[in-house]
C-alpha cells in the first residue's frame, strides 16, 4: 500500500515507457491469440470479446520463461488501476454483513451456462477463509478470519478494504484475485456489504 503511494510520482513518466509487450525472438503470443480466435465460439452471455485482454491481463499472462514485469511497469499499472477506483458518494462504506455473507458464499454468474439475468456472486469463500463456521473454504488467497478485529475500523483502513475488493491490482500487481468492482462483477453496494462482512464487529468473520 505504502509502495503505491510512494511511487505515485512515477505516473508522470509512465507515458515515456514503451508499450507493454511480451516481445522476444520466439514470441508466439500473437499466434496463440489467433489460435484462440479460431478455437472458441460465443455461447450464452460469453461473447468472443471475453478473449480480448486489457493492459493488466496482457501484462499478467507471462509464461514462466518470459521476462518478468519490470518494477516500473508494475508501478505504472498499479497507479492506473488505483486511479480508476470509484468510491461511494461521501465515502459512505456502510453495509450489511449478512448481505455480505450471502455474496461471499455465492459463486454463480457470468459463465456461459448461467442465466444472464441471474444474480452474480463474489465467491470469496472459493479462495478465502472468512467466518469460522464455514469449513468449505479455499486457500488461493490468505485467511480473512478476524480481518477487522486485527486491523481495526478506522476510516482509512475501511476505505482501503473497499479499494482492495474493487481492484486488487491497485495494490498487488498480477494478483490472482478478480477485480470485482473494476470489471463490474459486483456493484458498489455489494462491495459495501462485503466491507461490512470484513469489518463489522458483529460479523462472524470477526468472531473468535
Amino acid at each position: 500500500m505504502t509502495r503505491t503511494i510512494a511511487l505515485a510520482g512515477l505516473i508522470g513518466s509512465a507515458v515515456l515507457l514503451p508499450a507493454l509487450a511480451l516481445a522476444g525472438p520466439q514470441d508466439i503470443s500473437g499466434e496463440a491469440r489467433s489460435v484462440m480466435e479460431r478455437s472458441f465460439s460465443a455461447k450464452g452471455q460469453a461473447g468472443m470479446d471475453r478473449l480480448e485482454q486489457d493492459e493488466v491481463q496482457q501484462a499478467c499472462s507471462r509464461t514462466p520463461d518470459a521476462e518478468p514485469l519490470s518494477m516500473e511497469e508494475e508501478d505504472r499499472l498499479m497507479a492506473r488501476e488505483a486511479a480508476a477506483i470509484r468510491y461511494p458518494a461521501d465515502d459512505n462504506f456502510a453495509g450489511d454483513w449478512k448481505e455480505g455473507e450471502k455474496i461471499a458464499q455465492y459463486g454463480r454468474g457470468l459463465q456461459f451456462s448461467d442465466d444472464p439475468a441471474a444474480r452474480v456472486g463474489g465467491n470469496c469463500y472459493a479462495c478465502h477463509q472468512l467466518s469460522k463456521t464455514e469449513v468449505a473454504y479455499g486457500t488461493i488467497g490468505p485467511s480473512l478470519h478476524q480481518y477487522g478485529a486485527l486491523r481495526g475500523n478506522d476510516p482509512e483502513t475501511v476505505r482501503n478494504t473497499y479499494a482492495k475488493i474493487y481492484n486488487p491490482q491497485a495494490t498487488m500487481p498480477c494478483s490472482n484475485m478478480p477485480r470485482f468492482g473494476h470489471k463490474g462483477i459486483l456493484t458498489q453496494e455489494q462491495i459495501r456489504h462485503l466491507v461490512a462482512l470484513l469489518h463489522d464487529p458483529a460479523s462472524p468473520v470477526n468472531a473468535e
Binding site: 460469453a46 478473449l51 485482454q53 499478467c60 469463500y125 488461493i140
Partner: protein, 272 residues
C-alpha cells in the same frame, strides 16, 4: 483381449444399481464423496460400462460408409488400440496436424465412416438421456494403455509448436474474472472450496491429474474425457465455449500431457 473384457462384465452388472444412485449420493454428501464412494464400492469403476460399449462401437460398422473404426490409425497403425493412448497427443501426417485421442476419433468418424462432423459432435458429451460415443470410445482406448508410461516427447516440430501454444493459453488471463488456467493450477497445495487443485506446472501433480483421464465422474454419473475437462474449466474461467477438437483444445492437452510425461496411465479413472 476378449477374455479380459468378459470377466469385467460380471463386475459391471454388479455396479449397475450403484451407478444410478451415484449422482444423488455425491450431492447429499458433506464430506469427501470420492472417499465415501470408494468405501462403498471398493475399486470397481462404473467406467467399465463405457469400456464395453466403446469396444462395441469400435468394432461395429456405422455411418454412411457402413464401416467400423478398426481401420482408424491412432498412431500405431490401423486398428491398434493397445498402448496408443500413452503416446497421445501426436502429429498425424494424414491430417497434417497434432491430435489428441478425441480429435483423432472425430477425424476417423468423418473420414472413414463418412459421418458428418456436426452429427458426430451432437453427442460429444453424454447427459444421462443420450450417451456419448466419444466418452465410451475414449474409455475403451484409454484402458488399453493402463499401466504404461505416458510418453509425449514432442519429437515433431508441430508437437513442439502445440506445446508452446498450449503453454501460452495456459497463462492467458482474460474475461471478467481475469482468470487463466494458471490462476487455479500453477501453485502447489491450494484448493478451491474443498477441491484440491493440481499444480499442472509441476510434474508430480500433473502426472497424478493427467493419468486418470478419461474418468468416471461420480458427481455426474458419466465418463468424461480430457476435451470435456478443458471445456468445463474454461467455462468456469468465464471464457466462451472451447471447440471440441479445436487447435486450442489440442494445444492445451499437449501442454498438459508433456507436463505429465512419465506418468503411469491409470485411465479410465474415478473422479469426484
Amino acid at each position: 483381449m476378449i477374455g479380459k473384457r468378459t470377466s469385467k462384465s460380471a463386475i459391471a452388472l454388479v455396479l449397475a444399481g450403484f451407478a444410478a444412485s451415484s449422482v444423488v449420493m455425491a450431492q447429499s454428501s458433506g464430506g469427501d464423496p470420492l472417499a465415501e464412494y470408494r468405501e462403498m464400492m471398493g475399486d470397481d469403476n462404473p467406467a467399465e460400462f463405457s469400456v464395453m460399449r466403446g469396444e462395441e462401437l469400435w468394432t461395429t460398422a456405422r455411418g454412411p460408409n457402413n464401416v467400423s473404426l478398426e481401420k482408424c490409425d491412432l498412431g500405431s497403425g490401423p486398428g491398434v488400440t493397445e498402448g496408443v493412448y500413452a503416446n497421445l497427443p501426436r502429429y498425424f501426417k494424414d491430417a497434417g496436424r497434432v491430435m489428441d485421442l478425441e480429435t483423432r476419433l472425430l477425424h476417423c468418424m468423418e473420414t472413414l465412416q463418412g459421418i458428418a462432423r456436426a452429427d458426430a459432435l451432437e453427442q460429444r458429451f453424454g447427459d444421462g438421456a443420450k450417451q456419448s460415443d466419444f466418452e465410451a470410445l475414449a474409455a475403451f482406448i484409454a484402458e488399453d494403455s493402463r499401466g504404461l508410461k505416458l510418453s509425449v516427447p514432442l519429437r515433431h516440430k508441430a508437437e513442439r509448436k502445440a506445446y508452446a501454444l498450449g503453454e501460452q493459453i495456459f497463462f492467458y488471463r482474460a474475461g471478467p474474472h481475469d482468470f487463466a488456467c494458471a490462476t487455479c493450477h500453477a501453485q502447489s497445495g491450494v484448493r478451491i472450496r474443498l477441491q484440491d487443485l493440481p499444480n499442472l506446472t509441476d510434474a508430480a501433480d500433473a502426472q497424478k491429474a493427467y493419468s486418470g483421464w478419461p474418468a468416471y465422474r461420480i458427481s455426474q454419473g458419466e465418463v468424461r474425457t480430457m476435451q470435456w475437462r478443458m471445456r468445463d474449466c474454461l467455462r468456469q474461467q468465464r471464457f466462451p465455449e472451447l471447440g471440441f477438437g479445436s487447435e486450442a483444445s489440442v494445444a492445451l492437452i499437449t501442454y498438459l500431457a508433456h507436463q505429465a510425461d512419465g506418468a503411469t496411465m491409470e485411465a479410465p479413472g474415478l473422479k469426484r
